[in-house]
């Protein structure tokens, strides 16, 4: 049985000469072909069933010949990078706004409240996105940051850890300090480093 391979809806001539290729091999081969076009495989389905967690390796060991049809969808890395950068910007803005409210409340003896959770979650999301963009940028030779964001992310991680420790000992002054003088400057600095790809 021959397996029909589709990429973005167009049928692809594909021959598994060794008859032992896995879906992983197929994706790798495709990404290699796509790289010069600054595209990548964004979604995958086999016999009409989406392979949801293929990025983490799940479902990729299946031999290509076991499937009657494999569909690959691609996306522009530039578009994805712009989306990632936009996510960072939005989180930075949210963190700054919420931190101001939170700091003011903490300094005056009020509770840190739900805003603190959203700040921490936002900061974690920013760090994850930066990591993903850094890996992608390296793979596609695109400088998405004007300089390495590693130090900035390190500061953010340290600030979050200190924030948690201060919270545990009910040290509201240090919590406010961490937010106002460590975390917010670090995310703002990160925002300044963003280097979006040219359209």
């Amino acid at each position: 049985m021959n397996t029909e391979i589709y990429i973005d809806g167009a049928r692809l001539d594909f021959e598994d000469t060794g008859r032992d290729s896995t879906i992983r091999d197929l994706v790798r081969a495709m990404e290699k072909e796509l790289k010069p076009l600054r595209r990548y495989v964004s979604a995958l389905s086999a016999d009409g069933e989406p392979i949801a967690e293929w990025r983490s390796g799940t479902g990729l060991e299946r031999p290509v010949l076991d499937c009657s049809e494999i569909s690959l969808h691609t996306a522009s890395f530039d578009e994805a990078a712009l989306g990632g950068l936009d996510i960072i910007r939005r989180y930075v803005s949210l963190i700054s706004e919420n931190a101001a409210v939170c700091v003011s409340s903490l300094r005056r003896g009020g509770p840190a409240g739900e805003k603190l959770s959203s700040i921490v979650e936002g900061a974690v999301e920013v760090i994850r996105t930066v990591e993903a963009l850094s890996i992608g940028g390296n793979a596609y030779d695109i400088d998405l940051f004007k300089e390495s964001p590693a130090e900035c992310c390190g500061s953010m991680v340290r600030a979050i850890e200190s924030l948690k420790e201060a919270g545990d000992r009910m040290d509201s002054v240090s919590m406010a300090d961490m937010l106002e003088y460590e975390l917010v400057p670090a995310v703002n600095e990160l925002e300044d480093m963003l280097n979006p790809p040219e359209a």
């Binding site: 300094r107 003896g109 040290d171 509201s172 002054v173 300090d177």
Partner: protein, 628 residues
């Protein structure tokens, strides 16, 4: 001079005890850290008390919150590095009491931060003792003032218990101030009138200090009328000949029910209380100890004898006590049992034992059986934090704020504000006696109600079993003292009344002149503000100055005007509104009202003083007759 010495020099002028404590070697200063801005911070118990980056900016945020609120006084729990205090002063708040719960913080801060310019401010106070805060609230803050208490978050997180305790103290002290105002408004005039009405009685009954030191080492039992009196009053019978029993007037009948006739009953009511007397033989077996400002009918009622005590809060009493042969003014915490404690110490009694001093509601009651109030029903509403007293002898439901005190078993007992004030006074008195190292042993043998710090707590049987061993002839000692009563200084007394009369006539004359001038201005005001008013206002000012000088010889006139003084204070606190002309007219009206009151009150007391002089003359003549 280093920073520490500079700070201490200023502190020692206002709070020498605190300065002395800060110099002690065993006080370890908190470690100070430089912040990014070059200021200081410190950590205590693992928490930073100021930002490590910009503490002054942080203080500005906190100050902003306070400065937005309207208040007369601020009680700041925690000095920290003084940044907030400085911001508040800079923001125009200069009536501040700072309480720092940790002396090590003060020592660390004063070592590196110069706060002299702030601490020098007349109405900025600093202390490390909660009792001193209470004193400052009572001594410096008017009951009409609004108080704002504030603490920064680290203090809130580190000293929650102490903050709650200080809050209670401040609230109680301020309640006491408010009660003081209420008493001033409702009682001052009555007290002055009662004093004058009692003059004849003062010739008859001696001042209580003729018993000074007459009962050395004799146990005194002071009976309040708390509900627990039912539990142990009967014990007194077994020791009756070895003790002196002093009862609050409310406890008189409850004690009689237990077969105890007290040696003395204490009362200070401005109104007559016939319902507290038996109107029978028991009244005649008992001596009454009455305040000089008590209602005159209380002093005129037939009893087994009477003593008078003079009141330190009445100017007339203080001015004239010496002429009556008295130089003792008992300390009072607002109730007659507090007065009795001081009098017990003056007598030389030791120990002084309290019973029926519950200071709390117990078994749904306010008072012991047979007391006038024993039918009063009590309903405690913890949710609304109120107590409803009613039924029985109360015609209407009386809703009071619910307070809590520590009970004998350590658990909270429900109370009300006046009892809390008495309780506070007892604890302060105990503390003072301990510090001074004098005064009798004080035992709280009340078998129920509130625990009173500083008193020994035990049962009445145990206390009397241990201390009441020697028989004492209480009546004999009193009779003997009365027979040696010092003579009344007739000449001094007469001169004092004559001087007051002369002064009060002058006050009436000056008030009338001021009124005439002010009314003249008012009449012409319709034509608008005119420069000629300046001359008239100057005249009023001159007359006012003369009038105030004159009141020095009849200071009691101010007390008779207390109620009006508070109305005037309230008026002065109001924001000025309207045009200059409208404001002027309002002030003029207030001035006319004020001097109208002066004229009325001086007119009212001229015949009273004339009568007082007449009484002195009559008594003098009667005495000469007796001698002749």
């Amino acid at each position: 001079m280093d920073i520490f010495e500079k700070n201490l020099k200023v502190i020692s002028e206002k709070a020498p005890g605190l300065a002395g404590r800060l110099r002690e070697q065993d006080v370890v200063p908190v470690a100070m850290e430089k912040t990014r801005s070059g200021d200081f911070t410190f950590s205590y118990n693992g928490r930073y008390f100021h930002s490590r980056y910009e503490p002054v900016k942080e203080a500005a945020v906190q100050a902003g919150e306070i400065l937005d609120k309207k208040c007369d006084w601020i009680i700041l729990f925690g000095l920290g590095c003084g940044y907030l205090l400085r911001k508040l002063v800079e923001g125009g708040k200069e009536k501040i009491i700072v309480y720092e719960p940790n002396i090590g913080i003060l020592k660390g801060v004063f070592g590196v931060i110069d706060l002299t310019d702030i601490l020098e401010k007349k109405e900025v106070h600093i202390t490390a003792e909660a009792d001193a805060v209470t004193d400052l609230v009572k001594g410096s803050i008017d009951g009409m003032d609004d108080i704002l208490s504030y603490q920064t978050p680290p203090y809130r997180n580190s000293f929650a218990g102490q903050i709650a305790d200080l809050g209670r103290r401040v609230r109680n002290a301020h309640t006491s101030n408010k009660i003081g105002i209420s008493t001033e408004i409702t009682s001052r005039l009555d007290w002055v009138e009662n004093y004058f009405a009692n003059i004849r009685s003062f010739f008859r009954y001696p001042a209580v200090d003729i018993l000074d030191g007459k009962f050395k080492g004799v146990p005194m039992v002071i009976a309040g009328a708390g509900p627990s009196l039912n539990r142990n009053a009967h014990v007194l019978k077994e020791f009756r000949d070895r003790i002196i029993v002093v009862a609050a007037i409310t406890a008189f009948k409850p004690l009689l029910k237990h077969g105890i006739v007290p040696d003395m009953v204490v009362a200070a009511e401005k109104r007559d209380l016939p319902e507290f007397f038996t109107h029978g033989p028991d009244d005649l077996k008992t001596r009454f100890l009455l305040a000089d400002v008590s209602n005159n009918r209380m002093l005129e009622r037939e009893t087994g004898g009477k003593f008078v005590y003079f009141s330190p809060y009445s100017r007339l009493s203080v001015e004239q006590a010496g002429y009556w042969g008295c130089d003792y003014f008992p300390a009072s915490g607002g109730s007659v049992t507090t007065v009795a404690l001081d009098i017990g110490a003056m007598f030389g009694c030791d120990p002084v034992i309290f019973i029926g001093q519950d200071l709390s509601y117990s078994d749904g009651k306010t008072h012991a059986d047979e007391s006038f109030y024993h039918m009063t029903e009590v309903r405690i509403d913890e949710e609304r934090k109120v107590v409803e007293e009613g039924g029985g002898d109360h015609h209407a439901r009386d809703v009071k704020e619910l307070f809590w005190l520590k009970g004998l078993d350590g658990k909270p007992v429900p109370s009300r504000y006046d009892w809390v004030i008495f309780h506070q006074w007892f604890e302060r008195k105990m503390d003072l006696m301990k510090k001074e190292g004098k005064g009798p042993l004080v035992i709280n043998a009340t078998e129920g109600g509130a625990y009173i710090e500083g008193m020994v707590h035990t049962t009445l049987r145990e206390a009397l079993g241990r201390h009441a061993a020697v028989p004492v002839d209480v009546a004999g000692i009193m009779d003997e003292a009365v027979s040696h009563r010092p003579p009344v200084d007739m000449a001094g007394l007469k001169a004092s009344f004559e001087k007051a009369l002369e002064s009060i006539k002058e006050i009436r004359r000056l008030s009338a002149l001021i009124l005439k001038t002010a009314r003249g201005i008012k009449k012409r005001l319709k034509g608008g503000l005119s420069p000629e008013f300046t001359l008239r206002i100057d005249k009023i000012k001159r007359l006012e100055s003369k009038l105030f000088d004159t009141t020095g010889n009849s200071a009691f006139i101010w007390e008779t005007l207390s109620a009006y003084t508070y109305i005037l204070k309230e008026y002065l606190r109001e924001e000025e509104e309207g045009t200059t002309e409208e404001q002027f007219e309002r002030n003029l009206k207030s001035l006319i009202d004020s001097y109208g009151k002066f004229e009325e009150m001086s007119g009212r007391f001229i015949p009273v003083l004339e009568k007082a002089i007449e009484t002195v003359n009559e008594e003098e003549a009667a005495m000469s007759g007796c001698i002749a």
